[in-house]
């Protein structure tokens, strides 16, 4: 049995270093207030899938939804080594996790021979739940969550390492299985994630990515599978910090700062 891995690649809000209010007066996300990026945990999922393919052979398929910004995550997957890419023709902003998982599960079933699914454990911010666990439940797959790196893989098994509260553990699962990944690999390993390759950019310059509509997947009304709704969004009162620069060369300044903070000032 060879490995056919599906990577769920999501374009998500880039919540790093947000400046200014995110919400408008009605409590909705302001257009242009937040840009998007390839979800880092999904990048780790892609990198892990490509490493498994290098270990045992097989195929990597990238799966995503309609774009919400300017980042074409599926082209990025092809440029980094994915064998094929498929877009689900639905806007992810309109779907909660359960509804998105229903569509993704239908697409994975349609591919037919998938025995490994990899996805970021959760989007860093701005998502109410975890897609991987929902998918594992819907597909009836064994799951390992919070995987940081692949320890070993074979045609019929994967061993993933994950951090737990007081250490780490390695878990072996037989395929079919789902792995949801954190970001430690791409933070700790300077070789990860691999960059886009010029040759692959040329190869896929004119590649048309097929779009599977919800109707194609037998889920004509995906929003009907939603299990949560956003009742309200409100801005958190900004924690105003008067940040003071301390001159590292000024020993008396350092001493004064230490005296202040130790007194709780």
């Amino acid at each position: 049995m060879s490995v056919h891995a599906v990577v769920i690649a999501r374009e998500m809000w880039d919540t790093r270093d947000l400046v200014g209010p995110v919400l408008d007066a009605n409590g909705a996300v302001k257009p242009g207030a937040v840009s998007t990026r390839f979800e880092p945990q999904d990048l780790n999922a892609l990198e892990s899938a490509l490493r498994i393919k290098e270990m045992v052979g097989g195929k990597v398929t990238a799966l995503s939804f309609n774009a919400i910004g300017d980042v074409d995550v599926l082209k990025e997957c092809l440029y980094r080594g994915a064998d094929e890419a498929i877009r689900i023709g639905a806007n992810p902003i309109d779907l909660d996790t359960a509804a998105a998982a229903t569509l993704a599960a239908a697409a994975i079933r349609r591919l037919g021979d998938v025995n490994l699914v990899l996805v970021g454990w959760t989007a860093a911010e701005g998502e109410s739940s975890v897609l991987g666990s929902c998918l594992a439940g819907l597909l009836g797959m064994e799951q390992i969550s919070f995987v940081d790196r692949i320890v070993e893989a074979g045609d019929e098994f994967v061993i993933g390492r994950r951090a737990i509260e007081m250490g780490e553990e390695d878990i072996r699962v037989d395929l079919p299985a789902l792995l949801s990944l954190g970001v430690a690999l791409i933070e700790d390993d300077p070789r990860a994630p691999r960059p886009a390759k010029a040759m692959l950019k040329l190869k896929h310059k004119k590649t048309e990515i097929p779009v599977w509509s919800p109707a194609d997947l037998g889920v004509p009304d995906p929003a009907s599978n939603a299990t949560t709704v956003v009742a309200a969004m409100e801005s958190v009162p900004e924690r105003v910090i008067e940040s003071t620069a301390v001159d590292p060369e000024d020993e008396s300044g350092l001493k004064a700062m230490l005296e202040r903070v130790l007194k709780g000032e």
């Binding site: 996300v29 959760t122 666990s133 799951q143 553990e169 801005s235």
Partner: protein, 321 residues
């Protein structure tokens, strides 16, 4: 009226702190809506260590004990919790937002076809609806979620409630049968490296923490000297724990502990969200970093842009003067 189930995670042989906070949150919710609270604990030889859960807020305690439950593994734990959910009617099911809780909760929700919200900072009732609040968008936005298909499953973050003192509450405790099949034990832990807890960072008023930016053993030794000079506990990012410089119980952040000290000195810590969520409520933050653009430098009350190898000896000298 809310019938609430609280999943109690066993940590070091007893109920974990975040689970006890979730129990307190459930008690408050049940008292305000006229419902009841059931606590569920899974493990092996844990009966005595969870006996006081009734006094801490549960009306009923369910205990599942089996040697196959001696360590957490998704399959068998999911089977037992699922059997409890199938046999009882609950409106709300609460888990701690730990590795274990965040693993189990959404998986059960997917199997049951109900809604799940992970990493909640608050639970409140508004116009008869139970709402689960998450802090999102770089902690700039509170989002309240309503679960439209019940039971509502949620995981609750450290700090959601205070753990109450033992009370006079009386309730019922019962053992539940554990019925596991081969399909529940397909995954195997092939290696586990867990250290026993040696430090209580949550109780520390001053924490000096080291990140990857300390550079190596020499830099780390300096941070340790500063902690000793301040009579402080040492904290760490995951990179430092992975490097073996400090044991895992010193780790602060998403897969470590959440702390709220009076003073937090971050040495060589960039301030990635995985660490920030574990210490952002510190009263005063001092950051030492060579990178003035590191997120921690932008969020600290006092920022020192310098190589810690030059500035920490000066700080120690100032403290001893």
């Amino acid at each position: 009226m809310s019938e609430i189930l609280v999943y109690i995670q066993i940590v070091d042989g007893g109920a974990g702190d975040v689970s006890l906070q979730a129990l307190a949150c459930a008690r408050s919710l049940a008292d305000s809506t006229g419902g009841s609270v059931t606590a569920l604990a899974l493990g092996y030889d844990i009966g005595a260590s969870v006996a006081d859960l009734v006094e801490l807020g549960a009306d009923r305690l369910l205990v599942a004990e089996d040697d196959r439950l001696s360590h957490y593994l998704t399959g068998p734990y999911k089977r037992v919790v699922r059997s409890v959910l199938d046999a009882n009617r609950f409106d709300v099911v609460l888990f701690p937002a730990t590795t274990e809780g965040n693993d189990l909760a959404p998986l059960l929700a997917a199997e049951l076809g109900c809604g799940c919200v992970v990493g909640c900072d608050a639970v409140h009732v508004k116009e008869g609806k139970t709402l689960f609040r998450r802090t999102e968008f770089d902690r700039k936005v509170h989002t309240d979620y309503e679960v439209t298909v019940g039971p509502a499953i949620a995981t609750l973050r450290d700090g959601i409630a205070d753990i109450p003192a033992l009370g006079e509450r009386r309730g019922e405790a019962q053992s539940i049968a554990v019925d596991l099949g081969p399909a529940d034990t397909r995954a195997q832990v092939v290696n586990r490296d867990v250290v026993p807890k040696t430090v209580n960072l949550k109780a520390s008023r001053v924490i000096v923490a080291a990140g990857a930016g300390v550079g190596g053993p020499d830099g780390f030794a300096l941070v340790k000297d500063l902690a000793e000079a301040l009579d402080a506990q040492m904290g760490a990012t995951r990179a430092v724990v992975d490097a073996g410089w400090l044991p895992a119980d010193h780790q602060i952040g998403q897969t470590g502990v959440t702390v709220r000290p009076d003073l937090y000195i971050a040495c060589g810590i960039s301030g990635a969200v995985q660490h920030w969520v574990g210490m952002s409520d510190s009263k005063t933050i001092v950051a030492i970093n060579t990178d003035k653009n590191a997120p921690m430098m932008k969020r600290a009350h006092y920022r020192i842009e310098a190589d810690l190898k030059t500035v920490i000896p000066k700080m120690i000298k100032a403290l001893s003067a």
